[in-house]
Each structure stands twice: as C-alpha cells, then as structure tokens.
C-alpha cells in the first residue's frame, strides 16, 4: 500500500523538440494578428449569420453542409461571449465592438496550426525519415492558401484538420496492429479514426471522400487479415467486429448526435421555417407553433382548415380562392369556364380557409360529437369566404392545357353541372380506416367524376390571377408526387351557421389546446432530406472556377480589400508548392506503374518492405488527393478554389515521400544523393521566397503600390485588385 514511498516517483518525458518547434511556428503563423482585418472577410458573411442564429437559438436551414461545422464556429462565438447581434450583410463591413473577432477566428486558426505537426507525424508513421516528415510539415507551414484559409472564420481548415487526424490515427492504429492488437492504444486510435471521420463528414459533406478512402484502406487491410491463417476464426471475427463498430457504428451515431445537439440548440422559429413541413414548424417555439398550439387533432365534417401543399415548389403555398373568376378567353385564344379562380397563395390569408363538408348534409358546422373524416370518405371543400365549393371539370387548365381546370363552382345555368365531390386519400396512413389528422396526415384529393388529382402545377398565373400559383386537376396521375399531396395546417371546428358570423370567425385566430411533438428521428430525417434537396438557383459567382484551373493555380479569390488603402487578402497558393505537388503526383504514378510492370515480369527493383511503404503512402496520399479532387468533375454546383485545399494537403504529404524515395532508391551514388539534396534545399528556399513575396496578399497587413501589385500578378488569370486613382 505504501509501495510508492519505497520507490522514487520518476517521470521521464520524451519531448520531440522539432515537433514542439513546428507546433510553435504553426501557431505563430496562424494566430499572428488574428483580429486583423477587423471586418467581414468573404464567406465570413455567410457563416457569420448562422453563428448569430446559434447565439439567438433561431432555427435555420443551410444546404451547404451538416451542422457540426457551423457549431464549431458557434462554439468560438459562445466562448467569446458573442450575443449574435451583428448584421451580416456585406463583405468588408467593420465589426462592431460586441463581436469577439479573436475567439470567432480562434478555432479554425488552431485547427490550421495543428495540421502542421500532424503532417510531420503522418509522414513518420508512414515509416519515412525524420527529414521527409520535417519537409512535409514545413511545406504545410508556408503554404499561403492554407494560412489564409485558417486565419478566417471558415471551415476548410477544420475539415483538413479532421481529415489529417483520421489518416494519422488510422496509421497509428495500423502500426499498433502488428505488435499489440486489442491493447488500449489500439482501441484508442481505432476509435479516434471513426470519430475523426465522422467529424470531417459533419463539417462538410466533402469529408465523406476521406471517410470512404479510410473505409477502403481498412477493408483491404481487413481482407489481408482474413487471409492470415495463423489467426483463429474467433480472433478474425473479433477484429472485424471491432472495425465495424469503430468505423461504421460510431460515425453514424456521432453524426446523429450532431443533429441532435443542433436541434436542441435551435428551438425557436426563424426565417427558414417555410421550407419545412407543417409538423416540423409546429415543433419550433413561436411561428406556426403559436398558431397551431391547441388545435383539435382530428379533422371532422364541418372543420375549417387551411391546406398547405407538401411539395411547396417553387414556393410553399396554401390552397386559395377569391372572388375573381377565370377570364372568359385567355391570351392565346383558349376559353375557360369563367368560374371562380382557385390558386395556391404563398402568404397567410383569410381566403386560404376551407370548410370540409359532408356531401350528404347541409350544415357547415361540426356536429357534437364531431364525426371525424377517414381515409376514403367523400368530401366537399367549401371556400370559407365565398361558400363556393371546389370543383373540377373537363376544361383545360389556364397554363397546363393537358390538365383539368380547378375552380370554385358558380352555376351559370349553362348545363355545366357541379362536379364537386372529392375522395380523400391519406397517403401516409397506417390502416385504411385512419382518421384525417391536422398537420400529420398527408392527403390527396381525388375527384370522384374524373379521378383527377388536385395538384400544384408550379406555374405562375398571369396578371389576372395576381401571379399566384396555378392549381390543376391532374388526369394522368402517373405515380406519387408530392405536388399532389396536401396537409392541414391551421384547423378549428367551425361553430357558426350564419355566413356573416362565419366570416368573423374566420378572421379571428384559432385557439384551443393540445400540443404535439415530432420524434427526433423524424425531425432529423426531414431536416437532412431538405438539406440535400434544397437547390439554391442562381449561383453564378465572380470568383467561381472549374476543377481544371485548380491544379495549376490559374485562379484566385479576392477575399477582402481595405476600404481606403490597397491592402488586400487573397486566397492564393504558393505556386511552387502547387506545381511541384502535381509533379510529385505524376512521378509517383509513373514510378508505380513502372514498378508494377517490372514486378509482373519478376524483376523486383525495391525490397519488399520499401515497396509496401511506397504502396501505403501512395494509397493514403495520392488516394487522398484523388478522392478529394476527382469527384468535383461530376458536380454541377458552383465551385471555388478553396474546394481544392483538402486535396492539396494530401499532395503536400506525398511530396517529401516521393523526394525521399528518389534519393534512397533512384540516386545510385553518394555524389548523386548530395547533389539531389542540394537541389531539394534550393527548391525549398525558392518556395519560402515565393511564400514571403505573396505574404502581403495572405495577411493583408501591408498596402502595396499599384506597381508592386502589378508585379505580383504572375498569371494573367489572377485577379488582383488595383485601385484607379
């Protein structure tokens, strides 16, 4: 018990001073004058508004990526005590004093700084020399584009950090595997791989690329493990199970956790409510919830309802009618029924109210006890303000001539009978006797006479229809489409028999009681789905570029310009590193092909262990570049230079690997080796020189004369801002 008294307590610390030095330099380069410029720089304007939403706990929807990235930035704001009050409207706007710029930019900067020592570690874990590892870290340190991107409130540096962390921890795990499987550190690194992958995915969908790469590498290694006949079947099974849990289950759980926290944090209704379904909106505080709170759940004959289209494109809207009729003759000469218009209207309005009527009875009030409407029931929909009923007939719709016109029926006594019976179909029913529920039920209205389905066509009516959206009866309902599905949003039991009284009732807000909540999974699925399918339409941008321009750095992005002087910040890479990175990749590919072909003919140029090292380094670094770059060719969205940065870091990791390989295996004499080393040193100093020359554009701290700026414009395609005086 007192054993520790008998022996002295000894702490031995192994401190790799170069690692410490690298970390120090990384921190210095990323954190130096972090609050400068004290103005909104480029995409900060975009992320900033979401940080404000987090601070104010207001729900928002952003299609650019999962919420973890935004939450990391918001954490910075939280730590700095940001209250969220800043109008993020313009790049270049000066920050007010309540914005803690330093702490907002701190986390991305730390992530960027830590990438430097991690590059060192990764190359070491790949079993390359200390020199090569230093090289990789030093290249990361002086890469201008990485510095610019980490010093601002942006997400790429955090993404790169988690990408590198995933690679590093997998390598650590893989090296543990050889001597001590199932040890504590083995478990630690394996789990950390899964966690890092899931964080990367949580920051941007792009993180998926690295995750897939790690899964592929892990799968190949697992396949070798299966082939290892010295292990027992049980042992192999345990190995596979551990990998499956760490690399598949943990990431999924974590990803869900991000959304869980996101939805817990954002509980107030906000500007993007409209995109979400009524049920989702009702789960937020304020907004629709205030209106729907306490509504009766089951729709009964006599209920007053508003009907929202579930698809909601081009804009979310409600079924609507008003006094005006369809014009007798359209502009193109076709005729109409001249009956009352039925449209879809994107704003709340008293004309959005409809009464669900039992065709067999006359009264428009809910009887007591209420008779709920079920799947398959025949209903009439009576417009609340005009008491005309929803009708469709074999007349071409105004803008979609292949569909039927939908109107509110006016009897002109011209042998055009009312066809106002609709059969209710609940799409998401559990059984065929389900009751029509407010908000929760998604229903279709099938016309009894013509079996047309009530549908939002998506076209805007001309001036006579006040540019509201066209509603049609779709005859050839080819399958399920959300534009034919509706749900009840506001609902109350109608009580007034008299029209005048009813109108007053319709104008007054609905009030009763009961509250409902969606489960987390339902909210998660809806939010995720909306994020994936939301398309921002007009996305042309002055600084967008195509993937082909990235490899050779033919493009840049002007991030910020000082309001008075010509100090400016650009996303502009160190061109020496970019070009040599691409060269190294080409050399790697050619050498590998050469070795493979020679091996096939039974000529082994490399010793087995050197070959395995070469292959693993290539799989992770060249593979990392490929998975992070090539998919962009298939994407149709607007792309920017910063999308290339994750791929670039993998290229930077590959560079020293290739250099060391050339020196070790291709230089035949000591002399050649010395000459080669000298060349490498010369090359690195030129990279340093370029980095230093571009420094004013990276930090934006020095105002350059137009002449100097012109001198920096090494490529015609670079857009460097020169003030005309």
């Amino acid at each position: 018990m007192w054993g520790f008294l008998k022996r002295p307590i000894v702490v031995t610390a192994d401190i790799n001073l170069s690692l410490v030095a690298l970390t120090g330099m990384g921190l210095l380069s990323r954190l130096w004058r972090l609050t400068y410029p004290p103005a909104v720089v480029f995409d900060e304007v975009y992320y900033g508004q979401y940080i404000s939403f987090y601070m104010k706990r207001i729900f928002f929807l952003d299609d650019s990526g999962p919420p973890f990235g935004h939450m990391v930035l918001a954490l910075g704001g939280y730590l700095g005590g940001f209250d969220g009050h800043f109008l993020w409207n313009r790049i270049g706007a000066e920050y007010s004093s309540n914005v803690p710029v330093w702490s907002l930019r701190l986390l991305p900067a730390l992530a960027g700084a830590l990438s430097v020592p991690m590059a060192y570690q990764i190359v070491l874990e790949l079993h390359f020399s200390h020199c090569a590892a230093m090289g990789a870290a030093l290249l990361m340190l002086i890469e201008n584009a990485l510095i610019t991107q980490s010093r601002l409130m942006l997400l790429e540096s955090v993404l790169i950090f988690f990408n590198l962390l995933a690679v590093l921890s997998y390598l650590k795990f893989f090296n543990c595997q050889k001597h001590s499987p199932f040890s504590l550190s083995w478990w630690f690194w394996l789990t950390l791989t899964g966690v890092a992958c899931s964080c990367a995915v949580g920051i941007k969908y792009m993180g998926m690329f690295t995750y897939v790469l790690m899964l592929a590498v892990a799968a190949v290694h697992a396949w070798h493990l299966i082939g290892d006949q010295t292990l027992s079947n049980v042992c192999v099974f345990c190995h596979l199970l551990a990998r499956a849990v760490a690399l598949l289950v943990i990431p999924v759980v974590l990803y869900l956790l991000f959304f869980y926290v996101h939805l817990i944090l954002l509980f107030r209704s906000g500007p993007h409510d409209q995109i979400m379904s009524s049920a989702f909106q009702a789960s937020l505080e304020g907004g629709l919830a205030r209106i729907t709170q306490g509504q009766p759940l089951e729709v009964a004959f006599g209920s007053q309802v508003t009907l929202r289209n579930v698809f909601g494109k081009p804009v979310p809207c409600w079924l609507h009618s008003h006094q005006d009729t369809y014009p007798m003759i359209y502009e193109n000469g076709r005729g109409s029924s001249h009956q009352q218009q039925v449209t879809c209207y994107p704003f709340k309005d008293v004309n959005n109210w409809w009464i669900v009527k039992d065709p067999g009875r006359h009264q428009l009030v809910v009887s007591s006890p209420p008779r709920p409407v079920r799947h398959g029931d025949m209903v009439q929909l009576v417009h609340g303000m005009t008491t005309r009923s929803l009708n469709t007939h074999d007349v071409a719709a105004p803008l979609s001539p292949h569909s039927q016109e939908v109107s509110c029926y006016i009897d002109y006594n011209i042998s055009m009978p009312a066809q106002n019976l609709w059969r209710l179909e609940i799409v998401n029913r559990g059984s065929d006797t389900d009751v029509w529920k407010t908000i929760l039920s998604e229903v279709r209205f099938v016309h009894v006479n013509t079996s047309a389905v009530l549908k939002l066509s998506g076209a805007h009516l001309p001036d006579w229809g006040y540019r509201q959206l066209e509603i049609v009866g779709e005859k050839l309902s080819r399958g399920y489409h959300e534009s034919m599905v509706w749900n009840v949003e506001e609902h109350r039991y109608g009580a007034s028999q008299e029209q005048r009284e009813r109108e007053r009732e319709l104008h007054s807000p609905a009030q009763v009681d009961v509250s409902r909540n969606l489960s987390f999974m339902a909210r998660f699925l809806e939010l995720q789905w909306k994020m994936l399918v939301l398309r921002s339409d007009d996305s042309e941008h002055k600084y967008s570029s195509s993937p082909l321009e990235w490899v050779t750095l033919d493009t840049n992005i002007a991030y910020w310009l000082h309001p008075r002087t010509s100090a400016q910040i650009h996303l502009l890479g160190n061109i020496v590193i970019w070009i040599s990175g691409s060269l190294a990749l080409a050399i790697y590919a050619l050498l590998s092909l050469w070795y493979l072909l020679r091996q096939r003919r039974n000529v082994h140029d490399l010793p087995q262990d050197a070959w395995l090292r070469w292959v693993l380094a290539g799989a992770l670094c060249a593979g990392g570049w490929a998975v992070n770059y090539l998919p962009f060719f298939l994407m149709e969205k607007t792309l920017f230079l910063y999308h290339y940065l994750p791929a670039l870091t993998f290229q930077i990791l590959l560079l020293p690997v290739v250099l060391q390989h050339i020196s070790d295996h291709l230089c035949r004499s000591q002399l050649q080796r010395s000459v080669f080393s000298a060349l490498v040193v010369a090359w690195y100093s030129s990279a340093c020189h370029v980095s230093h020359t571009l420094r004013p554009l990276t930090y934006g701290d020095k105002s350059l004369s137009p002449h100097e700026l012109k001198a920096l414009r090494w490529k015609d395609s670079w857009d460097i801002l020169i003030r005309k005086h």
Partner: protein, 750 residues
Amino acid sequence: MPPATGGGLAESELRPRRGRCGPQAARAAGRDVATEAAARSPKRPARGSQRFEAAGRWALLALVTLLSFATRFHRLAEPRHICWDETHFGKMGSYYINRTFFFDVHPPLGKMLIGLAGYLSGYDGTFLFQKPGDKYEHHSYMGMRGFCAFLGSWLVPFAYLTVLDLSKSLSAALLTAALLTFDTGCLTLSQYILLDPILMFFIMAAMLSMVKYNSCANRPFSAPWWFWLSLTGVSLAGALGVKFVGLFIILQVGLNTIADLWHLFGDLSLSLVTVGKHLTARVLCLIVLPLALYTATFAVHFMVLSKSGPGDGFFSSAFQARLSGNNLHNASIPEHLAYGSVITVKNLRMAIGYLHSHRHLYPEGIGARQQQVTTYLHKDYNNLWIIKKHNTNSDPLDPSFPVEFVRHGDIIRLEHKETSRNLHSHYHEAPLTRKHYQVTGYGINGTGDSNDFWRIEVVNRKFGNRIKVLRSRIRLIHLVTGCVLGSSGKVLPKWGWEQLEVTCTPYLKETLNSIWNVEDHINPKLPNISLNVLQPSFPEILLESHMVMIRGNSGLKPKDNEFTSKPWHWPINYQGLRFSGINDTDFRVYLLGNPVVWWLNLLSIALYLLSGSIIAIAIQRGAQLPAEVAGLSQVLLRGGGQVLLGWTLHYFPFFLMGRVLYFHHYFPAMLFSSMLTGILWDTLLRLCAWGLASWPLARGIHVVGILSLLLGTAYSFYLFHPLAYGMVGPLAQDPQSPMAGLRWLDSWDF
C-alpha cells in the same frame, strides 16, 4: 464428402464443349484447371453418344431461338397505330428516306438502320409520325417493326450462348433463356420501332463475342480467336453508334481486356514480343476498328442527310452551309465585316439563336420600359442589325465614302434595322437573371446615348484584325459598364413571346453564352465570296455534332412538379410505361417487366452477393474445398462475377445522371441480371444436391429445381402476356377485366 457421388452428379452436359475453343477457365491457374477437369468429366462417354449429344445441343439452341422468334413476332402488327417513342424514331427513319437533316441526342446508327429497314420494305417516308395514337393506315410499317423484332429476338439465343460458355451448364443457359423469353418487358420493347432492341442486340453481341474470345485464349491468333475479337470490336461500334449508353459495354470489354493483358504480361513463358503482339491485336480490333466504324456511320449520316430540315437551327452557321435548301448553302456573301453592313448575329451556344428585337417594350416593373432585346431560334427580319460607327450617324453606304472594315477592338453601335433602335445596356437588373444587366433597344432613328457603345472583340485574335463572317468568334463588351453581351438561355414569360433572355453579364468568364458569330452579311459595296471556301472539314462537323448531342442530352432536365422515374424504381419493377391507350375502350400496351422474373432477379442479386462473399471468404481463409465445390465456386465467382460487373456498369451510372430518366433505360442491365440468375440458381442447386448427396433423392433436387423455375416463369408469362400483346376491356381494378387481380402494386396502372 466422397468425390465419387459428387462426380455422379456432374452430368455429362458439364463436360467442356467439343468446339474449337477450350473452356474459358483454361486461363485460370493450372491447379484450377486440373480440379475443374476432374470435377467436370469424371467419365468419358463413348464417341457415338458424343455425336448424339452435339446434335441435342444444336436442337436445344434451335428450339430456344425459335421460341424467341415466335414470341417476338406474334401479333407484331398490333396495334396499327403509333406507339410511344415510335413517333420519334419512325419519324427519324423517314428523315433518312427523305434525306432531310434533323437533330437527335443519340448517335445516328440506330435510326439509320430503321430507315434502311423501312426503305427496303417499301416504306416511302411519307407518313408524318406526328403523335402516338395516329393510325398507320396504308403506310407500310411492318418492315421497321419486323427489323426491330428480328434484332430483339436474337437477345435470347445470345444470352443462352453466353451463359452456356460462362457456366458450361445447359440448365443455367436454359433458365436464362426462359427468363428472357418470358419477360413481358423485353418482349414489349422488342416489338416496336425503337432504338432499344438495336442497342441491346449490339450489347449482347459484344458480350457474347467477348466471352467467346476469352474461351479461345488457349489458342491465340487462331482464326476463331481473330473472328471473335474483331466481332467484339464491331459490336462495340454498333452499341456506341446507337446510344451513348453503349459506353458501358465498352467499359466492360475494356476492363476485361486490361485484366487479360495483365495476366498475359505476368506469364513469364511468353516473350515480350508475344505480349506486344497481343496488345497490338487488341488495340487494332477493340480500339481502331470500332472507332473507324463509328466514324463511318457519321460519314454516312452526313452524306445521306444533305437537305436542310428541322435540325438546322441547332448547328453553327458553318455547318448549315453544307445543307441544300438552307439559305447559307451555296450562298456567297462578303467575307470581312465593314461599317454599314447588315448582319445577323448568332449565339455560339446550341439552341440559343439569333440576337433579336421587336416593337414591344419590357413591361412595367421589369427594368427600364424600353424595347425588348431577345434571342430567337428562327430566321426573321427582326434579326437584322446594322453595324455603325459609334460617333457618326452618316450613312456608310453612301458611295462617296470608302469602305471601312470593322476591326478587332473597334467601338461600334448596333442599330436594329426594322425599328432603328440601338442595342443598349444600363445598370438595371435583367428580367430573369437578377445579377446581370438589362439589354434594351434605345434611341430614335439611331440617335441614342453613350450606353449604346460596344467594343467588338474577336476571341483569341490580335487587336486590329478584320472580322470574318461565320469564322470569327465575337464578344461585344459594353463600354460604360464593362459587361459582356450574352444570353442566359432562360425563357422569357408571355410578355417576351417565350423567346430567350438577353443580358449583359458583369462576369467576364469566357463561356459560349457570351460568344457570337456573324451569320448573314449584306453589304453591296463589298465583293461576295463563295461560302464553300468556309465549309468545315469532316473532323470539325464530327466534333460539332458530338458537342451538340452531349449538350442536348444534358439539357433534358426533369421538371420540378412532374413525376419522374428514378433509378431505384427500376429493379423492383415499380412502375411501367404506357405504350398505347389509356381508357378501357383503347387497345392498351403497357411496358412492364414480368414481376415474377424481375423479383427473382432481384432476389438472385442479393443471394449472389451473399453466397459469393461466403465462398470468397472461405477461399481467403484457406479452406480446402472438395473438387466439385471448388469447380462450382469458380463458375460462380468468375462467370457470375463477369455478369454482375455487366449489371453494375449498366445500372449504377444512371444514379449520377442529371438528365430525365425512363424505365426502359434499365433493360440492358436487366439482361445481365437475368444471366446472373441463371448461373446462380443452377450453381446453388448443384451445390445443394452435392451437400445432400447422402440423401437418396439428392440427384433430383437439381432437376426438380430447374424445372419448377422454368415452369414458374412460363406460367407467369401466361398470366401477364396481355401487357405485351395488348389488352382491351375494363382496367385492372375492375373485376371484369382480364387482368383483374394481377395489379400487385398500386403504382402499376394498366
């Protein structure tokens, strides 16, 4: 397990064929060959029975072919009206007969063959093919339908032979043939004037000849080897020539060839020269030959279609000059642009059209209320503009002035000829593309303001050069705002007569939207030159037509509020396509896979993945498999793997496509999936029989299993055949209908 009983199960049909080529597995490592041979031919039958057996094989093949032809040609003439896409492809066949130029997003071979079939069968190209449902009446359409059905019928024997070669098992081949013969979807798709039967014919021909040349690998450079290799190349050219989907089978053959060459390269008994010969042979037959044939189809296409037709507007001015009847054909116009010239200006992007203006103003609230400027696809007087100097309004056509050419970098004014208004832009947002500036017609009789000045620039040329008609790629840069004249390609609402929006974009990116060329050019003071000098060369028109096709394909975008078919619908046979008829009085044909076949296929893929991975893991764990099982698992992994690859390549790329997709896109993949089903069930049943060898009835399991599958598909075909051969009478919801009770999914509407 005792190998003797296992051997007894390996019926004589498992023996390698006595053909000129050995089993495909001969390429496998020597050990496999030995075990397989041991497993497959335990006892050598007598010579006489061998001959008898060969005759039996031929008879079986003949039976399969006959059945396939019989089902495809049965009631081919029905219905006697246009069904579904016949309206397109029949029309395009007619264009070939009439030799008028048209545009389609697919390469020409398929439509050319349809046209040829129609021509040979006496169709004169006069039927209009206006819309589905139009009666053919006296027009001869059976030649074209018969041709498609003829090619479609070959799918079954091709699949039969492919599976036979891959699995060496008659029962597997028979099962595949039955699945395809009795699939209502394949049947329907083969009975009409469509590209799909032609495409699938070439795909299956390529697959078959690839498998055949693989099995000739032990006798390289022999006559059959060359035959099958070059046949593969020819079929690839055919597949790509019909639709770009043919790329997938090219990919498959390519992967197979690379693996093959890799294997040969690692064979140290072959000298590098021999390997080089192998490589050259493949380059010749699989790259050079198909490319030559593919180019040849385009050469024929351009040669046959020499008259101007509905496709002109999609192509560049230089291209149109080739077509007789087009106003650019044999035209002679001045070559260099001069001040005072009357011109039309065409956007270089496909299907944008000519710069256009007319006497209508932008409506209230949309930018400044000035005259509209749009682009318009058709030729019209309102497309004419006059080039003027920016600073003088004098008439340059006055004979006293010398001719002054317009040069790159000049500041000009473009005056609309009909309305005498200047092309104008200003800081108002454009009607649809809000980030761009509005372009209008402004000024009275050519007098406007400085916002009418444009700098004319030729892409990739030096300042001061003259500007050539048709050849020069021009950009017009607005002097005051610095923006570039372009068309966004968006359709204006009713007020703009549904013409396309013209904007001035402040983003100086070089896209085709903002590049123009001069097409018509009238200037009496200049000498005319013949346009034939400017005629593009064959490689140029080949390239251009490909660009236009690719753009056309990616332009087929689904609309937001419409139901569209999604790739995940297809394998589960979620929804079919209406070929003809809607109401209960119509003759209705509904393209839908035979659900029994399709769901069996789906099940088989899952089962294959499961059993394949179990076997692969067992082998990787070093399990010692008995000879019989080892042989069967080789069939499953190699043969099945190849077919599975085919299914993957023909299915998954559709998930990445942005264009509109239809149910029938799945059918090439479905062929591969049926072959997989054949191989899988045969192998599994054999494995089953082997596993239960101690049980007396074990031998029967295989026979009974295969027979019940065959009969099951045949019976389901009996049930569902009205889908393909046509139904009249009440719809399926009605208990009176012949199809009552067969609507197993709500989404099927027949």
